[in-house]
């Protein structure tokens, strides 16, 4: 009985050590089954040490040692696998062998076997994809029990003389089995607690990070400015529960929320040299813990006692920083530190995305401007050639053509006008057609019949002209005998349709060239301005006609009031 209690005492010392170790980072690799070599090695070292400790703390008994060495070997094997288990057992066993006694060989063999048993169980549970069971105290208890029983059998079988070993085993078997099994189970239970805490910790951490991501997404897509930054700062302040949050660009504070907002004002130049340094070095900086003290650079009364500065990047360029503060009574906890770094990365990618979207918008605007300004060079030079011939025979007509050419170019250069009246658009088309008519002489016939009521309706600029140009370039100009272009309106249920029709019937879906792009942009602009009902509709009967039409919606319908429809609803 005395043996039981002293072994339990020994086990307690052991567990206290295990508990203390669990507070150190050395323990972390043990919490998950990892196949990394360094982790395996740490596992080996740690449990070999426990084995050796078990031998030293053991009670000398009849030239043998009653001990808790098995805990180290079995758990080493369970957590590290058969190889680690074998070496832990071997190391513990050899150490025991060096201490001598009549059971030295038997103990060396049995400890190695125990490590191996642990290792094989590890293999078994990993194979069954239930590695979580390795951390169940009951299972560890059972495995240790089997290992200890095996040890006793080995001692009886190997240690000579038999009578002495039998005598020893009958004396130590029960106490050692109880102490080792309970010890191993408790040891794993400590590990498991640690694991649970850790996982809970990272779960809250991830949840908070995700909430911040979710709440802040898209805020900066309309620009990295003070009002957007204030929204983001508030979200971070609410979610991380730090003392205060600030966001700066490279020169000034854009937003400040939390303790100290009486003297930390947005829209003031950055005063902290650490912030500037963090941005210059593109590095996260911690202030207020360790050697670098945090002192508010604005006010000596400031309650803030520690800070973290995280640079914000757009791509590789630092565009600002985010700062998390805690008051003097608290310091930034580890969780807030790693969360801060995570937030930094998250926000950086959002800034980048915002930048990207902004570029895209600029690009599509540029694209439209380009198309406006881009006159088909073929048209231009042919027009000039026509005029050059007309000058000879009819200078007045030539002058008139030059007027039309000028008008056409003038309206092409009005790039900033988003919408025009149908009257203006028709004038533009007319200028274009007058030139083309002169060029094709009797090969081009025109018929324009638009309801007068519609002339003051507004529509996106450069809507009609590309359709007419298309009808000539890909239609009528391919007819030897010439052809006819009709531009007309037709009342329909939802408003009025404007048609551009040629009698060539040669429309094929354009390739992705500038013509195709031209029609795409017409459709896009119609849709943005009028809504989906106004998409360009193309109907082609081969060799008969190509009709392109779009809807001018009824102006009295709600949502389609001219000029009041948002034109940037992509």
């Amino acid at each position: 009985m005395q043996l039981v209690s002293s072994l339990l005492q020994q086990m307690s010392v052991y567990l206290v050590l295990a508990y203390m170790l669990s507070k150190t980072p050395i323990f972390l690799p043990l919490l998950n089954i990892s196949s990394r070599l360094t982790h395996k090695f740490i596992c080996y070292l740690l449990f070999s040490l426990f084995c050796i400790m078990g031998s030293y703390f053991g009670l000398a008994l009849d030239d043998a040692i009653a001990n808790t060495r098995a805990i180290g070997a079995v758990i080493g094997g369970l957590l590290g696998g058969p190889v680690v288990g074998f070496f832990v057992g071997l190391t513990g066993g050899l150490h025991r062998y060096s201490m001598g006694g009549f059971t030295d060989v038997a103990c060396a063999i049995s400890t190695t076997t125990e490590g191996l048993i642990g290792g094989l169980m590890h293999l078994y549970f990993v194979k069954k994809e239930r590695p979580d069971r390795l951390f169940k105290p009951m299972i560890v208890f059972a495995v240790t029990f089997v290992a200890e029983v095996t040890q006793m059998l080995i001692i009886i079988a190997v240690a000579k003389p038999f009578e002495q070993s039998y005598q020893l085993v009958s004396e130590i078997a029960v106490p050692m089995i109880v102490a080792n099994c309970v010890g191993a189970a408790l040891f794993v239970s400590i590990l498991q607690d640690k694991k649970t805490i850790f996982e809970k910790y990272s779960a809250t951490f991830s949840k908070r990070a995700l909430t911040i991501a979710e709440r802040s997404v898209g805020i900066w897509s309309s620009g990295f400015d003070a009002s957007n930054s204030e929204k983001v700062a508030r979200i971070i302040y609410e979610e991380t529960k730090v003392g205060a949050v600030a966001i700066t660009d490279t020169e000034k504070t854009l937003a400040f929320i939390g303790i100290g907002d009486d003297h930390h004002k947005p829209n003031t130049p950055i005063s902290s040299k650490y912030t500037l340094q963090a941005m210059a070095l593109n590095q996260v900086m911690f202030l207020g813990s360790g050697e670098t003290p945090y002192r508010c650079s604005l006010s000596s009364e400031c309650k803030l006692g520690s800070a973290m500065v995280i640079p914000l990047r757009a791509g590789k360029k630092v565009v600002g920083s985010i700062k998390l503060y805690e008051p003097k009574r608290k310091i930034l906890s580890n969780i807030n530190r790693s969360m801060g770094e995570g937030i930094g990365q998250l926000l950086s990618s959002q800034i980048l995305y915002g930048d990207f979207q902004h570029q895209q918008t600029l690009l599509s605007q540029a694209e439209i401007k380009l198309l406006h300004a881009q006159v088909n060079p073929h048209f231009l030079f042919n027009a000039l050639n026509t005029i050059s011939a007309v000058i000879r025979r009819d200078p007045d007509k030539a002058r008139n053509l030059i007027q039309h050419l000028s008008q056409f170019f003038r309206s092409n250069l009005k790039q900033n006008i988003e919408t025009v009246t149908l009257r203006e658009e028709l004038a533009h088309v007319n200028a274009y057609l007058t030139i083309e008519k002169a060029r094709f002489t009797d090969r081009l016939e025109l018929d324009i019949k638009i309801d007068d009521e519609l002339l003051d309706r507004r529509l996106p600029s450069f809507t009609l002209q590309p359709l007419v140009e298309n009808a000539i370039k890909h239609g009528v100009s391919h007819l030897i005998e010439g052809g006819k272009i009709r531009i007309y309106s037709e009342k329909v249920l939802l408003g009025d349709c404007i048609y551009v029709e040629d009698n060539a019937g040669r429309f094929v879906k354009p390739e992705d060239d500038s013509d195709g792009l031209g029609l795409q942009i017409v459709t896009k602009r119609l849709r943005n301005y009028f809504g989906v009902h106004s998409d360009l509709v193309i109907d082609c009967q081969k060799d008969e006609y190509t009709k392109m039409c779009f809807l001018l919606p009824q102006p009295c319908l709600p949502d389609t009031q001219s000029g009041e429809v948002p034109s940037s609803s992509y």
């Binding site: 000039l384 050639n385 009797d442 007819l479 030897i480």
Partner: protein, 244 residues
């Protein structure tokens, strides 16, 4: 004096060029055409020294037109274009002259002098290789000129093409037309296959082949036209049909 014709689908473009050519005092513009089909007919009938040829024309482009000419008898060609950066590169690469519209009279003078030199050298204006590099590789339709009308026959509708004393004829299932193209051009630029010195056959239109004595044969087309096959071409025809 150089004789010339102008082919352009735009009235004013023709008029302007004819006027400018007249002003050079070196060129006699003997005729003009508003499309490539009429142009082809003119080239064959008036045999000018030089053709001023627009590229973008309805149905048959300038590039198609030169594919339809016999390289040996082909006149000098000067392309005219308002704007066509790719074509211009090809002209330069293949020693073809071209003029950009509106045409600069000084530049035109350079062309005219060059043309006069070519004429006096009495050599073909363009080499076969240069023409091949520019001309449309494979014609999809055959221009045919009738009385007061122009026809474009798609190759797949043609069953037989043959030549006789009155010219080259193309036979579809229900029509017989006269083409400006030579049998040689048709053989080179279309899928029609030579089966006789005077006949080309569309292999898709063959219904049966009857073998006669002494190595001759006759093809019966889908619309029951009988086409002679000479000994010389029978083997090639059989190979094409995969029956050899």
């Amino acid at each position: 004096m150089l004789t010339a014709i102008v082919i352009d689908d735009e009235f004013f473009a023709r008029e302007e060029l004819i006027e400018l050519l007249h002003e050079t005092g070196e060129v006699d513009v003997i005729d003009q055409a508003a499309n490539a089909i009429d142009g082809l007919k003119l080239i064959h009938s008036v045999k000018p020294d030089v053709v001023f040829l627009d590229i973008q024309m309805p149905k048959i482009s300038g590039m198609d037109l030169i594919a339809m000419l016999d390289p040996e008898t082909m006149p000098s060609v000067v392309f005219t274009t308002a704007y066509d950066q790719y074509a211009v590169k090809a002209f330069e690469d293949n020693a073809f002259d071209y003029l950009l519209k509106p045409i600069d009279p000084k530049r035109l003078m350079v062309s005219v002098q060059r043309l006069a030199k070519v004429k006096s050298a009495q050599q073909p204006a363009h080499t076969q290789a240069q023409i091949n590099a520019l001309a449309t590789k494979s014609l999809q339709q055959v221009p045919c000129v009738g009385h007061q009308r122009i026809m474009l026959l798609p190759i797949q509708e043609i069953e037989v093409a043959y030549s006789d004393i009155s010219g080259v004829h193309v036979q579809t299932a229900d029509k017989l037309e006269t083409s400006q193209l030579t049998l040689k051009t048709l053989e080179e630029k279309t899928e029609l296959l030579r089966c006789h010195r005077q006949y080309l056959i569309n292999t898709q239109a063959i219904k049966e082949i009857q073998f006669l004595d002494n190595g001759l044969a006759e093809v019966i087309t889908k619309s029951a036209k009988v086409v002679p096959v000479s000994r010389r071409y029978l083997k090639a025809l059989k190979m094409e049909l995969g029956i050899l």
